[in-house]
């Protein structure tokens, strides 16, 4: 207990210091500006959704309070009235030393808008914690804050500290536990500076590109894929003004963080703080809702666990993670399995089996019901013989006897499922009709979330359900069986395959098998890539970080072809009009910039044009062709050399030559070794490049090796030469 005491006194002694400067402030975004929790979020804001029977925002506020934050500005947008009402009725409004103020907005459509609005209010003075209302954590802020402040003292540009946590992505799906995409972060291990943030990395691509200057500037860089972004940021005041300056910043990560990392004019820096033993995670989708609920039940978020956090009703922890409120009616024959939470006033009938689930307050559950891995909110009626597996059931739902919910189903508020009706897997059911607007594109999400709310008639927002019910009763009652009320939302086009990714249900085994298969293929693809590209080519620093998808992508392939044509035209014009070499270089460089190509591509394209010229000039025999080629190469060697800065580019030329021999001008293939020799003699290609090329080809298919064999003799001579030189050196 000594350590704990020390910790407590340290915290106490530090608090007055903090107070003397200014109170620590926090901005809590009570709107996620996404639509991932639809249809539930049409009727209730995401932050008020219960997580193990306690609204999410309570976890966030409780953490902020315990972390020593004194003023919290809760920004509410969608359903702002509900959030404000909740906060006013809860204990949070009457806490001493913990001020919770709300900022309401009706037209903000993104986090960027929210921060711009807060900036206009001039309420933030000094460093603040930026967090969204769906974050669960128990970390201590003291150290992170201190680090942030110290960095600020040394470097005024260190404006943000991002909290990250180690979390291994699932070995099977490459997703993290939270159902988010794989996240790549490049971090300088010494300074902890964040250098690159890539959350949209495609699985198929298998590589990401880093800015060359980034590697040049930082002596060491570690690229992580096992870091989880906790979405807890410690920001300086400047962050708000930056959002105001850059009015197009919408998304905190996609625009703001990436914008800062790319922008080297202002030189703002973002740092990371890694937490080890504490917990922090954000509920982003249904999968993370499921995961974090289970983490809470397993007490990783201690002390923010149901039995400690619960307000008035006492909840008791029993063996195997069973949380029971004090007043529940439980049949003797009911089997209450491991890891469940049962809220107050719930009744559970005979022979009902419940495991890995959360049951809200005031629910009535009949006999012979099976509930597995499901989240049942308050005042739900489940009649006899129902089966629920991995479903979310919102407040006031009625399931008539014998109804079945297949995995991944979400029943929104007050839906009624008819007798013996089977709700198909992954369906979303709501009393409200699906908004006509599709939101398959994620980029549109923030625009969508508000428009969706505007569409709704206000009566529905106020929870005037009676009119709703009468409306819908006339409507598609058959959709949910006899006596059922509600609409099954159609799953948008192309999204069907992806449904399982973000659903509460575990990934079905067939999908898992498919992913495994895909992954193997990916790996094969990767190894192939490794053969085609030189090892250094893989690390090839793409001068433009935005163009991360070179080569593989169809679009950029097309770009390359037209680029090649342009270069060829330029080159031919130069040949026919006797343009100076310098001018050609200038022109090609201009082309390179306009097509957004690397200098490697230029070298390839120029060499291609040269060879094409040689082929197209009249020749009768291969020796003549050889002479032609030699002529062209001698004439234009300076041009070619100006694009051959390093060995990678030279290798590219050889590869290009190989390609030419194979595809466009087969006449060259017998001359391969000779021309290679010629290029070597003219100092266009260096010995290293050729040897490297040969090395790489070593592991390739037989068909690929043709040219290596052709060049064998040449290579042999080279190798012998090297050996003899080495021997000489050794002898000396």
């Amino acid at each position: 207990m000594g350590a704990q005491k020390k910790g407590a006194t340290a915290r106490v002694s530090e608090d007055p210091e903090e107070l003397a400067r200014h109170p620590l402030q926090a901005i809590l975004l009570a709107d996620s500006f996404t639509t991932k929790f639809r249809p539930i979020t049409l009727e209730r804001p995401k932050v008020l959704l219960p997580l193990a029977n306690i609204p999410m925002i309570d976890y966030t506020l409780a953490w902020l309070e315990s972390a020593g934050v004194e003023e919290v500005f809760v920004f509410c947008c969608a359903h702002s009235k509900q959030v404000i009402d909740y906060l006013e009725s809860s204990d949070w409004s009457s806490q001493p030393n913990f001020l919770v103020a709300t900022i309401e907005s009706h037209n903000s459509i993104s986090a960027g808008d929210a921060l711009r609005l807060i900036y206009e209010r001039h309420v933030i003075h000094g460093d603040f914690v930026l967090i969204s209302g769906d974050t669960v954590s128990n970390m201590s802020l003291t150290q992170a804050l201190q680090e942030h402040k110290e960095r600020r003292k040394k470097d005024a540009n260190a404006i943000m500290t991002m909290v990250v946590k180690q979390s291994k992505p699932s070995p099977i799906t490459q997703q993290s536990r939270l159902g988010t995409d794989e996240l790549f972060m490049a971090i300088n291990p010494d300074t902890k500076q964040l250098l690159c943030y890539e959350d949209k990395a495609e699985y198929s691509k298998g590589f990401i590109s880093l800015d060359k200057t980034l590697i040049a500037d930082n002596p060491s860089t570690v690229l992580h894929n096992d870091k989880q972004d906790c979405y807890i940021d410690i920001c300086s005041e400047e962050v708000l003004s930056l959002f105001t300056d850059n009015f197009d910043y919408q998304h905190l990560r996609r625009h703001f963080v990436k914008g800062l990392l790319v922008d080297d004019i202002m030189g703002y820096k973002i740092f990371t703080h890694e937490i080890h033993s504490s917990y922090a995670a954000r509920i982003d989708n249904f999968r993370s809702y499921d995961t974090i609920s289970k983490d809470i039940i397993q007490r990783w978020t201690y002390p923010f666990v149901p039995d400690v956090l619960c307000g008035n009703s006492a909840i008791r922890v029993e063996r195997r993670g069973t949380y029971r409120a004090s007043e529940i009616t439980l049949s003797r024959s009911a089997q209450i399995g491991p890891f469940i939470v049962i809220g107050q006033g719930t009744e559970i009938g005979n022979d009902t089996k419940i495991s890995h689930s959360v049951i809200g307050e005031g629910c009535t559950i009949g006999s012979n019901v099976t509930i597995e891995g499901s989240y049942i909110w308050n005042n739900v009626t489940i009649e006899d013989g129902c089966e629920l597996r991995h479903a979310i059931v919102c407040d006031g739902v009625t399931m008539k006897s014998g109804a079945v919910l297949e995995p991944g189903v979400v029943l929104s508020f007050k839906v009624v499922v008819g007798q013996q009706f089977v709700v198909p897997a992954y369906s979303m059911v709501s009393l409200l009709q699906q908004p006509t607007q599709q939101d398959s594109d994620e980029e549109l999400e923030y625009a969508d979330s508000s428009s969706g709310n505007v569409e709704l008639p206000s009566a529905k927002l106020n929870g005037d359900i009676t009119s709703d019910l009468s409306e819908t009763r006339h409507g598609p009652t058959s959709e949910l069986g006899t006596g059922g009320v509600g609409y099954i939302w159609s799953i948008f086009e192309g999204g069907h395959d992806e449904e399982w990714r973000h659903s509460v249900a575990p990934i079905p085994t067939d999908k898992l098998a498919k992913i495994m298969l895909d992954k193997d293929e990916d790996e094969e693809l990767l190894t192939q890539d490794g053969n085609v590209l030189s090892p250094s080519g893989e690390l090839k620093s793409d001068s433009d970080a935005n163009d991360s998808e070179d080569g593989d992508n169809e679009g950029s392939r097309d770009d390359y072809v037209s680029f090649e044509k342009e270069v060829e035209a330029t080159f031919l014009r130069a040949v026919h009009e006797n343009v100076k070499v310098d001018h050609v270089i200038l022109e090609v460089n201009a082309l390179r910039l306009s097509y957004n190509m690397a200098s490697v591509d230029c070298a390839g394209a120029i060499f291609y044009s040269m060879m094409k010229l040689a082929v197209e000039s009249p020749h009768s025999s291969s020796s003549e062709l050889h002479r032609n080629a030699a002529d062209v190469i001698t004439t234009w060697q300076n041009l070619l050399k100006s694009f051959l800065h390093d060995i990678d580019e030279e290798i590219e030329v050889i590869l290009k030559f190989e390609e030419i021999c194979l595809e466009s001008a087969k006449e060259f293939s017998p001359l391969f070794a000779q021309i290679l020799h010629l290029l070597y003699d003219k100092d266009i290609l260096e010995e290293d490049a050729i040897l490297r090329w040969a090395d790489e080809k070593e592991g390739a298919d037989e068909s690929d090796k043709v040219f290596v064999q052709r060049a064998e003799k040449f290579l042999q001579v080279r190798n012998e030469l090297i050996m003899s030189i080495r021997v000489c050196i050794w002898l000396l």
Partner: protein, 417 residues
Amino acid sequence: MPDTQALVNDFLNQLKKRKIEGSQATAKQTAELLRSVISQTRVPYTNQAGALIDSVKAVGERLIAANPVELAVGNIVRRVLHIIREEDVSLTTAAMAGLNLSAVSDDEDDADRDDRPVLSAAAVAAASRSTLRPPSLQTLLEDVPDSAAVPHTSSSGGDSEGKSKSADKSSRSRKLKHDVIEAVNELIQDINTCHEQIAEQAVEHIHQNEVILTLGSSRTVLEFLCAAKEKKRSFRVFVAEGAPRYQGHLLAKELVARGLQTTLITDSAVFAMISRVNMVIVGAHAVMANGGVIAPVGLNMVALAAQKHAVPFVVLAGSHKLCPLYPHNPEVLLNELRSPSELLDFGEFSDCMDFGSGNGAPLLHVVNPTFDYVPPKLVSLFITDTGGHNPSYMYRLIADYYSADDLVVQRRPTSGN
């Protein structure tokens, strides 16, 4: 009143968030809070003790609910209630003796107290005592059954008399409150000095060249060992580290800083080392009425090892740790399950807790309980601030500190949950 309300809420909050660690700190803060509650309570002319008891109970109930695992809160609430009752009775008897007005005593006794035997003579003695004296046959015999007449003459005459004797009463009410606050101050003093009082007895128990084993860290144990060291006893200490919080490491550090020969061992090595040990000295979280101990996790294992090798198992506990409840009481069965991150690193094991694959149920479950229950038969001796006691004697000690009415701290006692 609003002042105390804020204080109470603040303390409740701290208890809830588990921000106060250690039963001594909790006990002290509880006592201080209750003292301010008492001083803020307006006492009516009639039934002053009842009003005080009610307000203390009201606060106490919420405090206990805020952190049911920390038994020291409930102990102190009950102690304060007991103090109020005792002071009330002693005042009454004093008044009876002085003014010879037998009826005055009646209006202090309301309906929910009438089953309590009024230990009038004992209470008079209690008012003047400074240290708690062990209960004796004498006090039991002294229990004069004059309280039998009490419930009959109820408030009928009380009101009229209240008016006529208002001057006398107001001074008396001030007297009662004053006395209670004095007694609570004494209690706080006791809590503050419990370490020293326990440590004073160290020389009687630790002998030259002995080997002492302890587990985890307890301030009481530290003071106890250091007190023996100061008295020029030379002995060695084995410290079991106390996984998963490893507070034994801190204890070892402190002991070494005070110049004690210390050996640090893992918890699992306890059985191997116990044969070389002369005595096991440990702290406790709470001592139950039957002499059982709620102790930091791992102590039951140590106690069993000690029993196997017939090594004395000594538990040090301040009087605020004495709990009038029995271990079969549902409130006591609670164990604080702390975060699994004390056991293993979440990041390293996060792939074991992937709910996306399989049937959604994690195969890994980490349990991190804080407390163990050590049954009374494994305990050789308790050392409290009043001296050494046998486990079977604890219930007498507890009867001395608490009154039976307060075992369930609820204003309207219902069938307990």
